[in-house]
Symmetry: C2
Subunit: 273 residues, 2 copies
């Protein structure tokens, strides 16, 4: 009973609340893209703040960028200054960060919206487990191909990503991973599939030994097309050529990011500090 009253009040407060959330993001960051898609999906009002500015000397292009300037709000609200980070308009409540926590947070903010996680406890847990799986087996291996200098480690990353994509494709239950609608699992995998298949970032920097057979992955490409056609996704897609350029710093092993540092230290990208 208490919970129902709470839910009701929550909805009312949500409707009355006009101030947008502050969404600290970066146009090129796939982790931030996850949170962005979820906020869009639920039409949650937010102010988009570009919180990582690639450092460029006069005359340099995106390809030359190594590190970035961090927005003061990001340094204030995230313990390590990472995007995505979401704070309330007054900055009076704790910050929300970690990309998959942000997706669940967006879902919690919109209890009457089309959910990104199933409501049934078992299927809800299943969705969380698959999202974490995609993080380990699709997002992280992407950096294990781009960051290491040794060909052997790059190929190991490539095999892991290919295996991950194969399992993702084979397990998909419908038009989207969990069935008929986009869920947290699609959002967990999508930004790296866009970078791999649409922008060809891995092939660009690692050459023909690192291609993904488009015939084998035809069902996955159809899923990708369905995702990219969604309004919630469209506005989060960086222009391909510019995005490719920003990955040069990863491919050169010079990216000054937590993820770059983790992979250079032999860890998985998701195990960054």
């Amino acid at each position: 009973m208490f919970r129902w009253v709470f839910m009701f009040l929550n909805v009312v407060v949500g409707l009355l609340r006009h101030e947008p959330w502050k969404f600290l993001s970066a146009w090129f960051c796939p982790y931030a893209q996850r949170a962005w898609i979820a906020l869009n999906h639920h039409k949650i009002p937010f102010e988009y703040i570009e919180a990582l500015t690639l450092k460029l000397e006069p005359g340099q292009t995106l390809k030359d960028a190594k590190g970035y300037e961090k927005h003061e709000l990001l340094l204030k609200h995230h313990p390590s200054g990472l995007v995505p980070t979401i704070v309330d308009a007054d900055e009076s409540m704790p910050a929300v960060y970690d990309s998959l926590v942000c997706v669940e947070f967006a879902d919690d903010l919109a209890p009457c919206g089309k959910p990104l996680l199933p409501k049934d406890p078992v299927f809800r847990a299943e969705a969380k487990l698959w999202a974490a799986w995609a993080d380990k087996n699709i997002a992280s291996p992407f950096y294990s191909i781009l960051v290491p200098k040794e060909q052997e480690r790059r190929l190991e990353g490539y095999n892991k990503l290919r295996d991950g994509l194969r399992k993702f494709q084979a397990t998909m239950k419908g038009d989207f991973f969990l069935g008929g609608d986009m869920s947290i699992v699609d959002i967990a995998a999508l930004p790296w599939c866009y970078r791999t298949f649409t922008c060809s970032i891995i092939e660009t920097y690692r050459g023909p030994d690192f291609t993904f057979d488009r015939q084998e992955f035809a069902p996955l490409l159809r899923w990708l097309d369905r995702c990219l056609a969604l309004d919630s996704v469209k506005s989060t897609l960086p222009e391909s050529a510019a995005l490719v350029d920003t990955y040069k710093r990863y491919a050169d092993g010079t990216a000054e990011s937590k993820v770059g540092a983790a992979v250079r230290a032999g860890k998985a990208a998701h195990d960054h500090d």
Copy 2:
């Protein structure tokens, strides 16, 4: 509206459902203990199944155990055969695993119970972030002390655990981490605090250079006492001497577990395969 009807049906189904969940656990496993406490907390009916049996030759004691036999249900329902794993009585639904996902699952099963995660979206996200923080900064460093053979790495783990415990103690908002009641954050940290302070496992195997000042940690010890006095926790506490013995395999670097293998490979315990 739809959500309210769903919630109502969910509660009714929950009340009607008599078959207990199958809880695949291990008496000595701190990760399984997290799920166990959450199931107890919400009085969720479950059948406790001892799913990891330490392998002992005739005449051997717990100290001699290296690996374990895994229950066939565990091998069937968890992709890597890890506890905790929870399956429905009919084994007709997806399995629920990963200790913190299991805690959230128990909370979702009991929407009218005393919640282990706050209902407000921001504070709910905050609880998840602190639980993940405790996993990285309290649970994982415990193994970084016990598993490595090099004194330097052990001391690095010790410093990390001590820093983690200091921050945990300094951040605690009330009798429990988030305030007046036990939450997922307490549950995330508790099993390793019990092993460290109550059972003195680290001091036993690593000696006087690895002690924790009980005066400095007096507030944490009072929190630990409050946790250990809860009914939901009491029944999950293994007998101290037996528990100490089971850690010999970690301290000898011979533990045949995913966590042991991850730490020996230079990764954090939470980043096991």
